[in-house]
C-alpha cells in the first residue's frame, strides 16, 4: 500500500534532500525529500534503521539474563526494556501475580522512568523549539539558551529528570543499567531512609509537573491554529488499559480505537498480540510497519505514546492529572485529538500522573516489604508488554528445556509509530517546504514534528543544540546543488 507523497512517480528526475543526524541514540534515522525544480515536494520518507541484531544475539543466552541485557538497546529508556523483558520472563517462571511489594517496586521504577524520560523529552529536547520558535536562531535552540531566558523552567526540567533518575537508582541499584527486576519479582526493596530521601522532594515534583502541564498547554493553545494543524493527520491509536478503563502504564490489556475514537478492540490479553497486530515490510525501509490485522495495511496503521494513551483512557486514576485530562479532552470536542504537537501536552499530563503515582507509592509500606519473589509452573514462552515513555513496547521470548532463549521478538514504540511519523513528516513537508527554498530553519520544522513523537531519532546531543546534521540537495545526476550543514559544534554553514 502506498500513501500520498510516499512514492514519487518519476523519482529519477527529482532532486533529493537528506536530513541525516550523524550520531544518534537508538536506531538510526534519516529523512529524504525529493523536490522538482520549483521545489515542489514529490516524495518524503523517514527511514529508520532498527537495531535488530539483539534478537539474534540473545539466542542461546539464559533467560534470566534478558531483562539486564536488553537495557543496552536504548540509551533513553533502558528501564522500559528492563521491565518489559522482566514481565515476559515472569511468565516463563510461572509468576502469575507478583507479591505486592515486588509489583509496587516495579511500578515505582517504571513511573520513575516515565518521569525522567518525559522531562528530558519536553524540557531538553522540545522546549527550545516551543519557546523560541521553530525557525529561531539555531544557536538558541538548546537547553542552555532556555536556562538563560527561562531559568526557572530549565531548573525544574533538570531537577524533575534528576528525581526520576534517583527513583530508578534506588529501585534498580543504578541510574542506568541496573538489575532491580528479576524473574518473578525484584531483588531489593526501598528502606525507610531511601523512602524518606525521595519523600523530601516529591511534593515539589508534583507541583512542578503540574506547572509543566500548564506550560505545555499554554505553548500549544497560544497559537492553536498553527499548532493543531502542524503535521496534522488522523489515525487509529493503541495502548495498554487497566481493566476498569484507567490509564495504567505498567500493566493492562490492549485497547485500540479508530481515528474517530470508536473501539477496534479492547482489553485484549497481550500474550495474543500476534492475533491483532501484523507487520508489513516495505522495500524502501528497514523498519517494519505494524498494522491492526482486522483493518488491513491501508486503514490499520496506528500511533502509540502519550497522545494515544491520554485520548484512549476513560480516566486517569490520580486527581491532578485527571483534572488536566478533562481540560485536554475538552479541546477535542468529543473526538480524539490527533495533532502531533499535542503529544507534548499529553506527555506532561502523564508526567504529572507519574509524579502522583510515585508520591502515593512512597507512602505505601509495601515497598519496604521483604517478600519480593514468587515463582510457579514453568512455561516455555512468555510475552511482556509495558507502556514505555514513547509507547507500547512488546517483548516476546521462547526458551527451550535448557533455560536457553531460542526466539526473541520485540516491537518497540518507534516501530509502532513508524507509519505515523512518516505521515507527520509528509504533512509538514507539504505545509512548510513545498515551493520554498530549503533552509535550515525550514528543515527544523521536520525535526520538530519527529521530536513530538520520538526524541531518540533526533540525537541526544541535540539537547545541547549540537545535533550534527547534513542536508544535501542533489540534482538528477546526483551532483550536489546545494548543501546546508550543521556541524557538531552547532555552527551552520552553506555552500556546495
Amino acid at each position: 500500500m502506498s500513501f500520498e507523497l510516499e512514492t514519487a512517480k518519476e523519482p529519477e528526475k527529482l532532486k533529493r534532500v537528506v536530513i541525516e543526524p550523524v550520531s544518534r541514540v537508538e536506531g538510526h534515522g534519516k529523512v529524504t525529500i525529493l523536490l522538482d525544480d520549483e521545489n515542489r515536494v514529490h516524495q518524503v520518507r523517514l527511514h529508520i534503521v532498527e537495531f535488530r541484531g539483539f534478537e539474534r544475539f540473545i539466542q542461546g543466552r539464559p533467560y534470566w539474563e534478558a531483562p539486564v541485557m536488553v537495557q543496552r538497546l536504548c540509551g533513553i529508556c533502558p528501564v522500559s526494556h528492563h521491565l518489559a523483558a522482566a514481565k515476559a520472563i515472569d511468565v516463563l517462571v510461572g509468576a502469575k501475580h507478583l507479591t505486592p511489594a515486588a509489583e509496587k517496586l516495579r511500578r515505582l521504577m517504571h513511573y520513575g522512568q516515565i518521569l525522567q524520560s518525559h522531562a528530558l523529552h519536553f524540557f531538553h529536547l522540545a522546549s527550545p523549539d516551543l519557546l523560541f520558535g521553530f525557525d529561531s536562531d539555531i544557536a538558541k535552540r538548546n537547553i542552555v539558551a532556555v536556562a538563560a531566558a527561562y531559568p526557572e523552567i530549565a531548573k525544574q526540567g533538570v531537577l524533575l529528570r534528576k528525581f526520576g533518575q534517583e527513583v530508578i537508582r534506588l529501585t534498580a541499584g543504578k541510574r542506568v543499567h541496573g538489575t532491580g527486576a528479576i524473574p518473578g519479582g525484584m531483588n531489593k526493596n526501598l528502606s525507610k531512609e531511601e523512602r524518606a530521601e525521595l519523600l523530601k522532594d516529591i511534593y515539589h515534583m508534583v507541583a512542578w509537573s503540574r506547572d509543566a502541564v500548564h506550560l505545555a498547554k499554554k505553548l500549544y493553545v497560544e497559537d492553536l491554529e498553527r499548532n493543531s494543524q502542524f503535521g496534522y493527520f488522523r489515525s487509529s491509536t493503541m495502548g495498554l488499559i487497566r481493566a476498569d478503563g484507567a490509564l495504567d502504564l505498567y500493566h493492562g490489556g490492549l485497547r485500540a480505537k479508530d481515528a474517530m475514537g470508536q473501539p477496534i478492540f479492547d482489553h485484549v490479553d497481550y500474550s495474543g498480540y500476534n492475533d491483532v497486530i501484523n507487520e508489513e515490510v516495505k522495500s524502501w525501509s528497514y523498519m517494519k510497519f505494524p498494522f491492526f490485522t482486522a483493518k488491513g495495511t491501508e486503514e490499520g496503521w496506528y500511533k502509540v505514546g502519550p497522545l494515544a494513551r491520554v485520548n484512549n483512557c476513560d480516566f486517569i486514576p490520580t486527581p491532578l492529572a485527571e483534572a488536566e485530562r478533562h481540560d485536554f479532552v475538552a479541546y477535542g470536542s468529543g473526538f480524539p485529538i490527533h495533532s502531533p504537537l499535542a503529544y507534548h501536552w499529553a506527555r506532561m499530563i502523564e508526567m504529572l500522573h507519574a509524579a502522583e503515582v510515585i508520591k502515593d507509592l512512597l507512602h505505601d509500606d509495601d515497598i519496604s516489604g521483604s517478600d519480593l519473589v514468587t515463582q510457579g509452573e514453568r512455561a516455555l514462552e512468555g510475552v511482556g508488554v509495558i507502556e514505555a515513555p514513547r509507547g507500547t513496547l512488546f517483548h516476546h521470548y521462547r526458551v527451550d528445556e535448557n533455560d536457553q532463549i531460542t526466539m526473541a521478538n520485540l516491537i518497540v514504540s518507534t516501530t509502532s509509530n513508524n507509519h505515523a511519523m512518516n505521515e507527520a513528516v509528509r504533512q509538514v513537508a507539504k505545509q512548510y517546504l513545498d515551493g520554498h527554498t530549503v533552509t535550515e530553519p525550514l528543515l527544523n520544522h521536520i525535526e520538530v514534528v519527529i521530536r513530538a513523537f520520538d526524541p531518540c531519532l533526533s540525537c541526544a546531543t541535540h539537547a545541547l543544540g549540537k545535533m550534527p546534521l547534513m542536508v544535501e540537495i542533489l540534482d538528477a545526476e546526483g551532483g550536489a546543488l546545494d548543501r546546508v550543514y550543521k556541524d557538531g559544534s552547532g555552527d551552520v554553514g552553506c555552500g556546495a
Binding site: T179, K188, N402
Partner: protein
C-alpha cells in the same frame, strides 16, 4: 635477620618451610594479585598474574617456594602494568560483557581489572564463537567467560573425585572440555553441590536461575577491592 623471612617491597615477611611466596605473603596480609590461584587447591601457575620479581628474576609467586632472604618486588608500577596487560588480554580473548553478566560485582577478573586501573580492553577483541551449554538442570556452562584457570578441573578431580572437566587443545586453542560422551554437562554426574560448580572465579560456571538476585550495592566487590576482600579472607 632470621633465616625464615623474605622481603616483599621492603617489608619483612616470615614463612614456614614449604610455603610458596604467595602463601607467605597472604599469611602476612601482603596482597599479590592472582587469578588461577586459590588457597584451597594445589598451585597451578598458569595465569601469571602473580608474577613478582625474585632477586631480579620473574617468578610466579603462587608456585615459587619461599626461600630465606629472597628480595621480592611485587606492588611496582611495572609489574602492575604487566598484570593489567594480562587482564586485558583475558578480556579480549573471551566474550566478557560485564554490563549484563550475572557475575558482575562478584567476578575476580572484573575486580582485578578495577584494581589494576584497567580503563579499556586496549587490544582488539577476538569475539570467539562459543556456545552456551545449558543441558545440566542446575548448572550453566558459558565458556565465553572462561579464563582457563583450571580451578574447575582441579576441584572436580581433587575434591569431588569426578573428573567432570578437562583441558584440551594447545596454545590459543586450549579450552575446557566436559568429560561425557556427548560433551554436554547434562550428561555428566556433576551435582550442583559439587565444589566444581562453585569454584569458578568468573561467570563461566554458574548455578542456574540465581542470576542478579543480589542487588547492586550488596555484591562482593561493590564496596571493597579484590585486594581488601582477599586479604581479609586470610585473617
Amino acid at each position: 635477620m632470621s633465616d625464615n623471612t623474605i622481603n616483599i617491597d621492603g617489608q619483612t615477611v616470615p614463612f614456614l618451610p614449604g610455603q610458596t611466596i604467595m602463601e607467605a605473603a597472604m599469611a602476612a596480609e601482603v596482597y599479590i594479585p592472582h587469578l588461577c590461584h586459590n588457597p584451597e587447591f594445589t598451585p597451578h601457575g598458569s595465569c601469571k598474574l602473580c608474577t613478582v620479581s625474585v632477586n631480579g628474576r620473574s617468578a610466579a609467586a603462587c608456585t615459587m617456594p619461599a626461600a630465606a632472604g629472597q628480595q621480592i618486588l611485587n606492588n611496582t608500577e611495572e609489574l602492575n602494568a604487566n598484570r593489567r596487560a594480562l587482564v586485558q588480554m583475558l578480556f579480549v580473548e573471551g566474550n566478557h560483557f560485564c554490563p549484563f553478566c550475572e557475575k558482575s560485582g562478584n567476578c575476580q577478573l572484573q575486580a582485578l581489572g578495577y584494581y589494576l586501573g584497567m580503563m579499556d580492553p586496549h587490544y582488539n577483541h577476538f569475539y570467539p564463537a562459543r556456545a552456551v551449554d545449558g543441558s545440566h538442570p542446575d548448572v550453566l556452562l558459558d565458556l565465553n567467560r572462561c579464563i582457563m584457570c583450571e580451578l574447575c578441573v582441579r576441584a572436580s578431580r581433587d575434591v569431588d573425585g569426578k573428573n567432570v572437566f578437562g583441558l584440551t587443545g594447545r596454545g590459543i586453542h586450549t579450552h575446557i572440555t566436559v568429560n561425557s560422551p556427548s560433551g554436554r554437562l547434562g550428561d555428566t554426574n556433576l551435582a550442583v553441590s559439587d565444589k566444581a560448580a562453585e569454584v569458578c572465579p568468573v561467570g563461566a560456571i554458574i548455578k542456574k536461575r540465581h542470576g542478579f538476585a543480589v542487588p547492586i550495592g550488596e555484591r562482593l566487590y561493590d564496596h571493597k577491592t579484590i585486594r581488601e576482600v582477599q586479604t581479609e579472607a586470610h585473617k
